[in-house]
Each structure stands twice: as C-alpha cells, then as structure tokens.
C-alpha cells in the first residue's frame, strides 16, 4: 500500500523548471531511494514534499490525503519527518534542546522518545548538554536523525545523510537507516552515494535534470549497466 504518492510533480524556481513532472511511489515499510547527480532535483523533490517550496503542478498524497499546498507545520504534524541536507542541527541549541525542538508540536511527555534516541545514539547522551555546534559531523548527523524521530514520523525523508562524512561514519549512518527501517519507519532516502543507497533500497529512482529516467528495485539498478557507468563508477570493469 502506498504511503506517499507523487503524481506529475513540477517545481520551478524563478522560471527555471527544476522538477519536470515526476511521479513516484513510496510503499509503507519500504526504503525508497532517489539517486542522481548534483542539481538533478533530488533535494527539491524532498522540499516540495515537506511544503517548503510551492508546487507548480502535480499532486502529492500521503496516507490517502492530499498534502500538496499544505504548510510545512501541517505536513510535519501528519508524520513526515525530514533529515535535511547538511544536517542543519541548531548549533546554538544544546543536543537535548535540538531533540526537544524536534517535538515542538507535541504536548505529551517526551522522556520515552528522548531515551529511545539516546539508546540508538549513546554518543548523543554523553553530549546532552553540549551545544550542537560543537559536535563532529557524524554526531550532528545522528542528532539530525534523532531530532526528526522526535515527532514519531511514519515517513522519514533523508537528504544526503552520508555527505561529507568519513567512510566508517557512513557505514554507521546506513546501519542506522536499516535500524529505523526495522522499527517500521518508511524511508525516502536521497543519496549521491548510490552504491550504499541501492544496496539497502527496496525501490529506487534515478533522477536526471528534473526527470525520472530509471526505476526499479535496488538490486535491479545496482546491476544496471547504465547506472553502473554513471553513478557507481564501475564502467571500466564493465
């Protein structure tokens, strides 16, 4: 059953069409990845879903309801969380405050959720009172994930979570994505690290200059010669 369904989405920035009518589907419980080069429109797609940029055309439905045209506040409260590109934790807030602000719209007790995040990321617990700006890149990424989880999202969108991180840390991040997946969170993952993303993805889309050029399971795209050549850097070996 599809949790998120995008039909003929078009987005333009000042006359330039960044997304040229894409359709994609995210089923409940899946990891869906969107791969593509810089400027292909991956982040724009996520921003459109979260309500940060207006749609020029198309419809986005989530859990059977049309969410396109709603405010970001409304969309986040429906259960769509976002781990933004570049992490963008609040550096002037403590780690704990960053988690609390992730649950800004909630009025109930946050303790179990905070404990849960700290259990997933013990490093954050140690740094609970530190300003988020003092954390390392990997820790900030964990915090960005933890912050998004505080709203108990059903769908978590992650924008380039591996960007700028050391290989070992990237491995941790992908492990976390799989952990979240096991917790029944549906994941829409945007990545340039196509290899790692396709390995864990149930379904994958290739985005090129605003259009979807390929679609298949993670495995299929991983074995696809064109994908190999363009995104996996394996052309020479064939």
């Amino acid at each position: 059953m599809s949790l998120l369904y995008i039909k003929d989405l078009k987005v333009s920035y000042g006359g330039i069409e960044a997304i040229k009518g894409i359709s994609l589907e995210v089923n409940k419980g899946e990891i869906v990845t969107l791969i593509g080069a810089n400027g292909a429109g991956k982040s724009t797609t996520l921003r459109a879903i979260s309500g940060l940029v207006p749609l020029k055309d198309g419809v986005i439905t989530y859990d059977g309801q049309v969410i396109s045209g709603q405010s970001p506040q409304k969309i986040v409260s429906e259960g769509i969380g976002m781990v933004p590109e570049g992490r963008r934790v609040f550096p002037n807030l403590t780690v704990l405050e960053n988690l609390k602000i992730g649950a800004y719209l909630r009025k109930d007790d946050l303790t179990p959720d905070i404990d849960h995040v700290y259990q997933l990321f013990p490093r954050l617990k140690e740094r609970s009172w530190q300003l988020a700006g003092t954390l390392s890149g990997g820790e900030q990424q964990m915090l960005a994930v933890g912050r998004a989880m505080m709203m108990r999202p059903k769908l978590l969108m992650m924008d380039e979570p591996s960007l700028g991180l050391a290989p070992l840390v990237i491995r941790d991040i992908f492990k976390i994505i799989e952990t979240l997946h096991e917790e029944n969170i549906t994941i829409l993952l945007v990545e340039q690290n196509a290899n790692a993303a396709l390995r864990i993805a149930d379904s994958a889309y290739v985005l090129e200059t605003g259009s979807i050029t390929m679609h298949g399971t993670g495995r299929e795209l991983l074995d696809n010669p064109q994908v190999k050549e363009a995104y996996l850097g394996k052309s020479k070996k064939g």
């Binding site: 979260s50 309500g51 940060l52 405010s71 970001p72 506040q73 986040v76 409260s77 976002m82 933004p84 963008r88 609040f90 550096p91 002037n92 807030l93 405050e97 609390k100 602000i101 992730g102 800004y104 719209l105 912050r147 709203m151």
Partner: protein, 292 residues
C-alpha cells in the same frame, strides 16, 4: 572629588538603563530577522505620546498598563504591515521599509500633536526626590537600573528556559529548518516585536520622567544611542546590548562631569566608529559570517 562625580555617575547608570531597554528591542529583532528596525526609536516616542494623551483623561493606574499594551500593538502592527510582506524579499527592501515606517510614524506624530512639545505627566513616586550621599536625585534614577536588570534577567530566562524561547533561538538561526520542526516563524517574530515594544514602553516611562517633554523626534537620539549600544555590545546579543548601553550611558555622563558636555554625543558616535573599525562584531557578537 567623588562627591562631584556621584550625581553624574548616578545619571549615567540611569540613562544607561533606559538605553538598555531600547537596545534590547534592536538587538532581538536583529537577532531574528537580521534587520535594523529603524522604527524602534519612533515606537519609543509613540509610547511617550500615548502616556501624554491617556493621562489626560484616565488615572495613572490605568494609563501605565494601557501605554504598554498600545505600544505593543503598535510594534506588532508595524511588523505585520511593513516587514512581514517582505519576508522573502532582499534584506535591503526590508531596511528601506523600516526607514519608511519610521518617517511615517514621525510624521503622524507631527500631524497629531501639531509639532508642539507635550508635557509628560509626572509619574507618582518615580518623580520624587531622594538624597544619596551628597547627591540629590529623582527616585527614577535609582529604579531604572534595578528595573532594567530585573527585566533583562526575566527576558534571558524566557529565552533560555521556555519553549517559545527555544523556538526564538531556533528561528534566529534557521528559518527553514524551524518551519520543518513545526514552528510558526511569523508567531515567533511577532513575539519578538511584542517583547521589544513592551520594553521600549517601560523605557519611555523612565526616560520621560527625567526628560519631561515629548516631541515627535525626541526618540531619535536615545534610539540612535541604544542602537550604538547594541552594535557596541555585539548586535544580536542581549547581554551585550545591556552592557553596551550602561557603558555608553555612564561614559557620556562622565564626559559631562569632566566639563565637555558638548562632546558627550560625539563620544557615543566616535565609539561606534572605533568599534566598527576594530571589532565589527562588538563585545559579545557572533563571529559567524553573514547568514546565507
């Protein structure tokens, strides 16, 4: 020697407190919108006129809270009308709009008052005289710094400890991500203007108790000096603005004590130039570059 300086020192601390209450409004708005709210000095002046007109027909106990409420409504309205529609516009447009709002209010005040100076009512108790050592002064001189510090502590506590304060800190750093957290940035910005205007209203009561007449442009100078104080302390920083304001207030009056009254204003602005040249981020300013 000390006896001669004491009254100036007291006046300096008092004036510093008044500047501080205005400066906090500048620095908070800058912290969140990266905007110099040029209309802030005029909101301060308007608070003075509100008091003049309200006390003409209402008792003081009603007028004082009403002045604060009206000033808050004015500050809120200026933000909604002149700044909010320009939220996504280049920062220069908002700044021009702020200058426009400032002159609009000044002109409205000219129109309403006919340009005549109005006598500010004497606030009970605050206007009474007390003797401190060898100096005699009004009670307001003593009350101002104490009240200022209490209000600033309350404000800092609000910003550090409450949910709305946390949202203010978040919004001041990143509009877009704050929206993704479910924060209504327009409400947070309104709260900022409400707090700034309320403090300016309190500041105006203290200021005019000393100054006694209100004219449409009377707020320009204290407004400008409070702005210098905010820059000196590091614009965006509340403790910085308060400390900057006290330093400027005291320094101005010590210069008067030394017999250079004519240069006291010049000193403030010379200080601004020196700060901008050698420490553009001020005493406690963020070291970060422009927000992109």
């Amino acid at each position: 020697m000390f006896d001669r300086i004491l009254p100036y020192l007291l006046a300096g601390i008092s004036v510093g407190g008044q500047y501080a209450l205005i400066a906090v409004g500048y620095t908070m708005v800058y912290g969140i919108l990266r905007l110099i709210n040029f209309a802030h000095g005029d909101i301060f002046t308007a608070a003075g006129f509100f008091m003049v007109y309200l006390t003409a027909s209402l008792p003081m106990s009603v007028s004082i809270p009403l002045v604060i409420i009206l000033t808050v409504i004015l500050g809120f309205t200026v933000e909604r009308v002149a700044y909010k529609p320009l939220r996504t516009a280049p920062r220069m447009s908002v700044m021009i709009s702020a200058i426009g709002a400032s002159y609009l209010m000044q002109n409205l005040m000219w129109y309403v008052t006919g340009g005549l100076a109005k006598q500010y009512p004497v606030l009970p108790w605050l206007g009474d005289t007390v003797q401190i050592g060898s100096a005699s002064t009004k009670i307001v001189t003593i009350v101002t710094p104490i009240l200022t510090i209490l209000l600033v502590i309350a404000l800092v506590t609000l910003i550090q400890k409450t949910k709305i304060g946390m949202a203010m800190r978040a919004v001041s750093h990143d509009f877009e991500i704050s929206q993704l957290m479910g924060i209504r940035i327009n409400s947070v910005i309104s709260v900022t203007f409400i707090i700034g205007s309320a403090l300016a209203a309190v500041g105006s009561m203290l200021f005019f108790t000393n100054y006694s007449t209100v004219t449409p442009t009377v707020g320009a100078m204290p407004g400008l000096k409070a702005f210098v104080a905010a820059v000196f302390g590091g614009i965006g920083s509340i403790p910085g603005a308060v400390i900057g304001a006290f330093i400027i207030g005291i320094a101005e009056n010590l210069i008067r004590a030394a017999g250079y009254t004519a240069f006291s204003d010049a000193f403030t602005f010379a200080l601004l130039i020196v700060v901008l040249l050698f420490r553009p981020t001020g005493l406690f300013g963020e070291k970060t570059a422009e927000k992109v």
